[in-house]
Amino acid sequence: MDRRASPADIATSSVYLDGIPHEGFTAIRETEGLVWHPYGPIGDGNGERNGFWAVARHADVREVSRNPEVFSSAVGHTNLWDLEADALEARRSLIDSDAPDHTRLRRVVSRAFTPRNTRNWEGMAREIAAELVDAFVAGGGGDWVAQVAAPLPIRVILAILGVPLEDADYLVELTNHLVEGTGDGPSLPDDAYGNTTPTRLLPFNSPASHALFEYAERMRQLRLADPGADLVSGLLEAEADGERLSANEYRNFFQLLVFAGNETTRTAMVHGALAFAEHPEQWAELCHDPSLITRAVDEVIRWATPVLHMRRTASCDTELAGTSIAAGDKVVMWYAAANRDPTVFEDPFRFDVTRVENPHFAFGGGGPHFCLGAFLARMEIQVLLEEMVARNVVLQPRSAPVHLASNFVHGVASLDLGVAS
């Protein structure tokens, strides 16, 4: 079968060292139908066979997201690479299951993350944000990632989970290793953290997942013996349709939360801070009219698009954008491209905190997997910006951000920012 070849490389992780390849995405968006993108080593021909359909237009991402019967999360999985059946089963969690398993799991965990519940955590998050911003200002600026954007979300999610604060640095370290697992770069030795499980069975192929599982198990024992008001206790008690989370479901979900609730929100806070530093008029506008806050938060999230893509796998022969897709084909939704689609966003490459129409897909294009933490992430970003507005903190760029070589998370390793006095 003849497949239209992708006009640009958007899959090689090192491409992202220069930031999102927006020109490439624009070329793909403007190509009629869908394009087929190679993945993996190209020379031996496998790259062509292991490739994927690149979905870049907003309307098409929406279509894929909202048809989970056709575009499955459980057949194959939701990252670009393929897994063997046993690895897939061992790793299975919320994000790579389909109904009815997904529906059951999601209901067990979603009660904690409704807007109403999220509000209960706002005071805690605000205190943490205020403390970190004060320290950053007192130090005259520095690495925004290490000093504010990384510690804030991890401290919030750990507080929600009921994990002791002194373990925060250790968990940040583990999740950093998980992100490395999505890049091409060297990662940990297979036996790091005393791991003995073959890494292909572990989330992100990373021995750090083993360490996270061990940590999760320790928390489980602790809370089973001595339940509290925290989320881990809640999860252990929660039932859906008379069933509890199995030990395996619990630890996979624990690891998913620590990862998903952390790296993503951090990334939004990094790109947000950089955008405000580079567009001081936008910051002035927000400070002048704090009622813009909710729009500003969503614009920061659109601008950052922390999760660059999610994958689905066609469960049957189908068609999208006039292109035939065969059962078993990988279909990859590039949120990074959908969030710059000019047919949906006016002047998409402008950072604009007053944007009214902003139906971005940074939390997914809808459908059952829509980000569980969307309200939590928005709340965290909002309290951070509010605490900065309250202190009249004006950030200034000092040097270019150091991007991660990842085609999955729009990550930044470090970002040096100054504070105007």
Binding site: R66, G364, G367, P368, F375
Partner: protein, 66 residues
């Protein structure tokens, strides 16, 4: 003309995101028990707002009652 409509939630589709309750707290109530959104008895909305909340549900669980 004030065109008021009633909404329903498909309990098999609802994943308990709570977008509906956020948009229209008077109309939707998420049950703490089973995390399924329910429409408050007798609640109505004008058509434009109803369509916005139908569109706002990420899992297409809400529809306008015929």
């Amino acid at each position: 003309m004030n065109d008021l409509v009633q909404l329903t939630v498909d309990e098999d589709r609802c994943i308990g995101v709570g977008q509906c309750e956020l948009l229209e707290p008077e109309v939707f109530c998420l049950s703490d028990e089973d995390t399924i959104s329910r429409v408050v008895d007798g609640a109505v909305l004008d058509r434009a707002r109803a369509l916005a909340v139908v569109e706002g549900c990420p899992n297409m669980a809400i529809s306008v009652k015929a």
